[in-house]
């Protein structure tokens, strides 16, 4: 265990504070400008020279994804909306039954995928749309790192979908239970889902071999691949937990690395895009920068009792933005 008697080196007092006054659900960057996605209605552009609140949804914002050019959000108003760096926004789609758009992912060549209820949709950069009916509600959605392929998490497994393979039956990876989130390793070899239980489930895609990653004290709600794709950092315990994904077997038969032992539960993780460093946010409000090689820690946000709900790095990794459930945001330039 880390000795908390010795104060950690801290950068917390160098962070710029931003008042969001609404739950922060996620965050993205347009170059160096952090954009906080608020729980209700708006995006908050937090440039150093002044903040700008841009109202886009008529209700809660349930999901978001960004590719540097645009932030795409789904809301409980049944709308899928794209916002550019100027704050200009357009409605990309409206659910015909006004169901919640609660899954969004961005793919290659301007493709966007979203889901409402039991239907997954994808639209290419050229505007061609495909839809896929699933047996249960879509609970997780992501693009594969290569090719035009989607992974969809749902009850009793995950579906792999090539939207352009018209007529081909999507492949289904089965595992009993409710799968609530999904990610594919950057090398495209492994698919991992978060489950309703306090566990992750994984498949080696080539042979659908199962992997169970368990031992958490809570449901895992945040996943992030390390800069080199060699490990998957996860929330859900009183440490930052990293599963090794090197070699052909991934984490099979291996133990995870446990870093940043904390009195509170880790709620969000975000790996640095260039360095072997991860930011870990905790339910007590603290954010730790964790050096993955040796576990060295730097405090980026002091514990104040507000659960950390969003973390994000700028593309080059010089800026870390942090947000809490209670609407406190801060921006740390390294």
């Amino acid at each position: 265990m880390t000795d908390f008697a010795a104060p950690l080196p801290s950068l917390a007092d160098r962070a710029r504070l931003v008042q969001a006054e609404s739950t922060i659900v996620s965050m993205h960057f347009f170059r160096q400008t952090p954009v906080f996605v608020l729980g209700e209605e708006a995006l908050l552009f937090a440039a150093p020279e002044g903040g700008k609140r841009v109202a886009i949804h008529g209700g809660a914002i349930l999901a978001s994804a960004a590719d540097g050019q645009r932030i795409v959000t789904g809301g409980d108003d049944g709308k899928l909306i794209a916002t550019n760096r100027e704050g200009e926004h357009e409605v990309l789609a409206t659910d015909d039954k006004k169901r919640w758009v609660d899954q969004v992912a961005l793919g290659p060549d301007g493709a966007v995928a979203w889901a409402a209820g039991k239907v997954a949709h994808v639209r290419t950069g050229k505007g061609e749309q495909r839809d896929l009916d699933l047996p249960s509600t879509v609970a997780g959605l992501c693009f594969f790192p290569k090719g035009f392929r989607l992974a969809i998490a749902h009850y009793n497994g995950a579906t792999l979908w090539f939207p352009n393979a018209a007529g081909a039956k999507p492949e289904v990876l089965e595992w009993k239970g409710s799968h609530l989130g999904v990610t594919v390793s950057p090398d495209g070899k492994f698919l991992v889902t978060t489950m309703q239980e306090q566990t992750l489930h994984g498949w080696r895609i080539v042979d659908a071999k199962h992997m169970r990653m368990s031992g958490y004290s809570a449901r895992v709600r945040s996943l992030s691949w390390t800069h080199d794709g060699g490990a998957l950092a996860t929330s859900g315990s009183e440490q930052l937990i990293l599963w090794p994904f090197t070699g052909k077997d991934g984490p099979m038969g291996k133990q995870p690395t446990l870093l940043a032992q904390s009195p509170a539960r880790c709620s969000v993780v975000a790996c640095h895009p260039r360095q072997p460093v991860a930011a870990a946010g905790f339910a007590d409000g603290s954010v730790l920068l964790v050096r993955l090689d040796d576990g060295a820690l730097i405090l980026a946000r002091e514990a104040d009792g507000e659960p950390v709900s969003a973390l994000g790095w700028s593309a080059e990794g010089q800026v870390l933005a942090m947000g809490t459930e209670n609407g406190s945001a801060s921006v740390l330039t390294l």
């Binding site: 809660a60 039954k97 919640w100 209820g117 509600t137 009850y155 239970g177 409710s178 449901r219």
Partner: protein, 346 residues
Amino acid sequence: MTAPSSAEKIPVTVLTGYLGAGKTTLLNRILSEPHGKKYAVIVNEFGEIGIDNELVVNADEEVFEMNNGCICCTVRGDLVRIIDGLMRRKGKFDAIIVETTGLADPAPVAQTFFMDENVGAKTRLDAVVTVADAKWLKDRLKDAPEAKNQIAFADVILLNKTDLVTPGELAEVEARIRAINPYAKLHRTERSKIALDEVLGRNAFDLDRILDIEPEFLTADDGHDHDHHHDHDHDHHHHHGGLKHYHDEDMQSISLNTAKPLDPDKFFPWVQDLVATEGKDILRSKGILNFKNDEERFVFQGVHMILDGDHQRKWKDGEARSSRIVFIGRHLPEEKIRKGFESCIA
């Protein structure tokens, strides 16, 4: 960081009842009364139209098994998702009401609040309120297991449409309800008309409120509005003014008590084994326990296999230190349960 106390958590009322019993009427009453409160309402996708409320969410009642197929570890997957989404609008509503379809089993709804950490951290189950049709419930109890589940599971029962039955029929259906669930608060209503504090803010799942688990005894004359029921067609009932007692063939309640202290090292393994083996058939359980060498009373409650318990408070001077537990369930092995309980006496 401490978890929000139960007072800060958003209360959730679950509204059940067989098709046509009057759930939507009750819901609209709750929403239209001048209480100054805002409700988020989760209705089922087949729900009736005409709910006039700012925050209405359509749910599709997806019941998901957890722990690789354990039948009792079911949650409402859609509720997990919807409550997560609703909490982004914290401050926009004071309470949540979940209306289920007439065919729904209330257990997965209730279990969601104990099984999902995020839901349990932000919201608390307030009560299961069941609306029953005074005219048709008796038939539904025969042909619809769902209707019986809803009665057995309830904390509050509105016996509705009492204006459509005779006093004799009313006494009959009440006795049928009591045979299944003698512990719920029972109200006679017409057109679901009831004071809102009788259905909202009940704290029925709050361990601190498990003060009293005495059955609600049937009284011969408990209708505060019995003036309405002076029809003249009750003379063919032999028992008017008296009480009828029924035994339901498959759903019963068992109440056990002892004045002798219990041994916690015997009781906990016993009750855990009991819910592990019989949990499928035990819908609800509650208990107030007196353990040996323990100055505090221990309370617990359960839904199927899920048990939630804690020390509640010190026994008061002069308070009778006795243990009492109650199970409501289907085909319960009463003798086995009784003997098991007795073997826990210290």
